[in-house]
């Protein structure tokens, strides 16, 4: 694989118009990735789902070269209907269109950020891979006191023109004081067995609000990895909702640093999995100063041969008194072959805190099914009703009513 990496990397460098300094930087990331390789189950964070094995089994050898100098045709049929929105369109990892037509253009700045790779203090070779291969990194800045009128939908789409087996993309957002962004990640895939690697960085200044909804609904055979890093200043709020249902493999990681007082983070997730799907959410919330708050709710419904994992970590620094941290994960196993893994972790160094977590898993309650059937529903209907109710609980946590309705429509939930 290493030869392939080097070969494809050289090809990509040739097609990109970037400076020598940027090339060197990318080379250093590639070197680091080659040294460490894909993460495997020996690493604690990858214990439940071993991505190196999954890639080997599902894709085999990866290839990395795509000609990013050529544009792709945008297929408008992928667009979301019934909701006015701004668009960023990624096709096969290339940004084809950035469209903020509903907004005051002077309040949004879009900068080409290539060369300024996103850096964190984080041991994760997939981030190195991303930094080495992303063709363009944009920074989107929302100016002070501006709230976007319409949500922004980022379309992640792949089509059969793709040449590589790996797609890397990355965006950088900055929300200035008192600004607000509603962001939807919308996945539609028309390819088979690609490994998609997404990296977002959010910088939330005082009083800003970020709402991020990741919707992976349509069944496809791709493997996906997404990493969100969120830095939060005083009184800022971040809300992340993850619908994890479409891909063969999807691991969502959210790393949230609550750097400012009275900042809060919410993470809600739904797994709805069927045959051979393996999905994971891993969240890390770092409470670093006083009076911060976090809330997490993850629910799974697991069908035949599917597997979901939730690793949630709440870290409370010794300075972070008066922290409020809550974490709950629940799972319904529908079949003998389904599997649920959880590792809800608390790491606490301050004494005046309220932190708790809970985890429960099991099958559908036979008594509830009996109750519904005695009211005239058949077995299948009763089951569906119970599962709907179970999942609706998480969807109701979405604070934006427009998007809540969209999500309900997508999942097919009715009240």
């Amino acid at each position: 694989m290493n030869e392939q990496l080097q070969l494809d990397f050289d090809k990509i460098i040739k097609t990109l118009k970037i400076s020598e300094k940027e090339i060197q930087l990318k080379k250093s990331f590639l070197k680091k990735f080659i040294e460490n390789g894909f993460p495997n189950r020996k690493q604690e964070d990858w214990k439940f789902l071993d991505i190196s094995q999954i890639i080997k089994k599902n894709i085999g050898e990866l290839t990395f070269f795509n000609d990013y100098s050529l544009p792709n045709k945008i297929d408008p049929s992928i667009f979301v209907n019934g909701l006015e929105h701004n668009k960023i369109i990624f096709i096969n990892g290339r940004i084809e269109k950035i469209d903020f037509n509903y907004e005051d253009q002077s309040q949004i700045e879009i900068n080409d950020e290539i060369g300024k790779n996103i850096k964190f203090n984080y041991e994760n070779s997939l981030i190195d891979l991303n930094n080495a291969f992303t063709n363009k990194v944009y920074k989107i800045l929302i100016k002070k006191n501006y709230s976007l009128k319409k949500p922004l939908i980022i379309y992640h789409s792949t089509n059969n023109k793709i040449k590589s087996k790996n797609v890397n993309l990355s965006l950088n957002f900055e929300l200035e004081e008192n600004s607000c962004l509603r962001l939807i990640d919308y996945f539609s895939d028309n390819t088979d067995k690609n490994f998609v690697n997404i990296l977002y960085n959010f910088n939330l200044k005082k009083y800003s609000i970020l709402k991020n909804y990741k919707l992976d609904k349509f069944r496809n055979n791709n493997l996906k990895y997404s990493f969100n890093n969120i830095e939060q200043d005083d009184n800022s709020i971040s809300e992340t909702f993850i619908l994890s249902a479409g891909s063969d493999y999807f691991k969502n990681e959210v790393n949230c640093n609550l750097n400012g007082e009275y900042s809060s983070a919410f993470i809600n997730g739904v797994f709805s999995l069927k045959e051979n799907q393996q999905h994971e959410i891993r969240s890390t919330i770092n409470h670093l100063v006083e009076n911060t708050k976090s809330y997490q709710l993850i629910k799974s419904v697991l069908g035949k041969n599917s597997k979901s994992a939730y690793q949630g970590r709440i870290f409370v620094d010794s300075k972070a008194q008066k922290t409020d941290g809550y974490q709950l994960s629940k799972a319904i196993l529908l079949d003998e072959t389904s599997e649920f893994n959880a590792k809800p972790e608390l790491e606490i160094y301050a004494d005046d805190v309220k932190c708790s977590h809970g985890s429960a898993s099991g099958s559908l309650n036979e008594n509830s099914i009996f109750y519904l059937m005695s009211r005239g529903l058949n077995y299948q209907q009763s089951k569906e009703l119970l599962i709907n109710g179970f999942l609706l609980d998480v969807v109701e946590k979405i604070t934006d009513s427009e998007i809540r309705n969209l999500v309900k429509n997508i999942i097919g939930l009715k009240e």
Binding site: L333, A342, P344, L346, E347, Y349, D351, S356, S359
Partner: protein, 480 residues
């Protein structure tokens, strides 16, 4: 004698911190095939036992010390330890308690377990382990009447080789992790219990461990077998004298419960935790594992961990038999610079298996407490259930309390529920108690005892009293 008294004077915080002047026989320093042969030889072991040890040693060479745990410790030089140390006067084994070295008996008195007293009054049979060799086994007559075998491991190897051969290493194989394998290679002594079919052991069996000589590692091996339909409750208490250097304690405990059998294993661990600045103290790296082999069997672990510089252990249950039950009740208290990484593993393999975990962690001073547990329900373990509750209490903002549960559910018929909370002692509670005339330390002791109530209830009477006192002593100086 003088030095001993000085020791007591100097370090009187730890009431068990004294050494006894008894000449020791030590194996040559270091770990090698020769040392293992020396140990085996001095204990007059049969060939198969030596082979067992050498096999473990062979395996050990290829193993690395694990390093995933939370409390890190300075590297242990395994070549700088004595692997065998026995009081010299033990060469000719005493026939009865009266023949014992009076100094030994004195030591036990200070520990609060005068053998004769306990033997006569409490009706507890004590198998005291003093620096690796079992000193005396009391109350043998009564036990023999029921056909119960309760003796030291070395005695069992000589007298009951069939049983030892059949069960030793079946729960913790020689190919296990580093410390367990180390123990398999160099273990010196320990307790052996066999309860025959249908027998309910009429008394609580008890061992008192104590590390005496400096620079010795304590490697006991305990094996408890409860045959069909039997019941046994086993108590284990540990203390060690104060020393500046750290001492290693790496014991292996194996429990085997056959059909309808029940084993209850209680530990009160009060090893020397090091001084206020975190110097010295015991490294308690123990492997405890129980196998519910037969149908309807039950294994219950109860532990009160107040000592040791570093505690790192996970008493586990493998629920293999259908309808078997595993329980784990734990209180872990860390103060000053103590560190603990403890919890349990419940591995459900059989149908209708149930497990329950109640863990209470209390950290004060500069200490660090981690609950780490695994609940694994196998795809064949139909209709199984687990309930886990782990609560942590923090005192002050220099300490840490962590919870790391691993939950794996591979069976759709089974339920797992897990809850964890972290809290502190509220000002109101303290105020209320003080208003009623308690001083702050008494108030904390009372509140903490209430917090631990669910676990303390599980201990046998004699132990519960001691444990309650220990809880109070361990937290001295943590408020104010």
């Amino acid at each position: 004698m003088d030095t001993r008294e000085k020791d007591i004077e100097k370090l009187k915080d730890y009431k068990y911190g004294f050494t006894t002047d008894i000449e020791n026989i030590k194996a040559p320093k270091g770990l090698s095939e020769d040392v293992i042969k020396f140990i085996s030889n001095i204990k007059k072991e049969p060939q198969w036992m030596l082979d067992f040890r050498l096999k473990a040693y062979e395996r050990l060479k290829s193993l690395k010390e694990p390093n995933w745990q939370k409390p890190k410790y300075p590297k242990i030089d395994y070549q700088d330890l004595y692997y065998y140390s026995a009081p010299k006067s033990m060469k000719d084994k005493p026939k009865s308690l009266d023949d014992l070295d009076p100094k030994l008996l004195e030591t036990y008195k200070k520990l609060g377990i005068p053998l004769q007293e306990q033997a006569r009054l409490n009706g507890i049979a004590v198998d005291a382990v003093f620096d690796s060799v079992s000193v005396a086994t009391t109350f043998k007559g009564e036990l023999t009447k029921h056909g119960i075998i309760f003796c030291s491991m070395s005695e069992a190897i000589q007298k009951h080789p069939d049983l030892v051969k059949k069960y030793l290493g079946t729960v913790i194989p020689v190919t296990d992790h580093f410390f367990a394998t180390l123990n398999s290679a160099v273990f010196t002594d320990g307790s052996f219990v066999y309860i025959p079919k249908g027998v309910k052991c009429p008394m609580e069996l008890s061992t008192y461990f104590r590390i005496n000589a400096s620079q010795t590692g304590q490697f006991e091996r305990t094996l408890i077998i409860a045959d069909e339909g039997s019941y046994v409750s086993y108590l284990e208490g540990c203390t060690a004298p104060m020393r500046d250097e750290n001492q290693l304690h790496a014991a292996n405990v194996e429990l085997i419960a056959l059909d309808d059998a029940e084993i209850k294993y209680s530990t009160v661990q009060n090893w020397y935790p090091g001084d206020e600045n975190g110097k010295g103290g015991i490294y308690n790296f123990v492997t405890k594992r129980g196998l519910c082999k037969g149908k309807n069997s039950k294994i219950s672990w109860t532990q009160v961990e107040t000592g040791s510089a570093i505690t790192w252990k996970y008493p586990s249950c493998i629920l293999k038999g259908d309808n078997s039950i595993g329980e784990f009740y734990s209180i872990a208290i860390t103060n000053n610079h103590q560190k603990a990484d403890t919890g349990t593993k419940m591995i459900h393999l059989g149908k209708n298996t149930k497990s329950k975990i109640i863990s209470k962690g209390i950290s004060a001073g500069f200490s660090d407490m981690t609950y780490r547990g695994l609940v694994d329900i196998n795809s064949k373990a139909k209709n199984s259930s687990n309930y886990t509750q782990c609560d942590s209490l923090l005192m002050g903002n220099k300490c840490g309390a962590h919870t790391v549960p691993y939950i794996k559910n591979k069976n759709f018929d089974s339920n797992i529920a897990h809850e964890a909370t972290t809290s502190k002692i509220s000002e109101e509670q303290l105020h209320y108690c003080q208003q009623r005339g308690l001083n702050p330390e008494e108030a904390v002791g009372l509140i903490v005892n209430g917090f631990c109530k669910e676990v303390l209830q599980q201990l046998p009477m004699e132990f519960a009293v001691e444990a309650q006192k220990l809880v109070g002593i361990s937290l001295e100086g943590s408020v104010g």
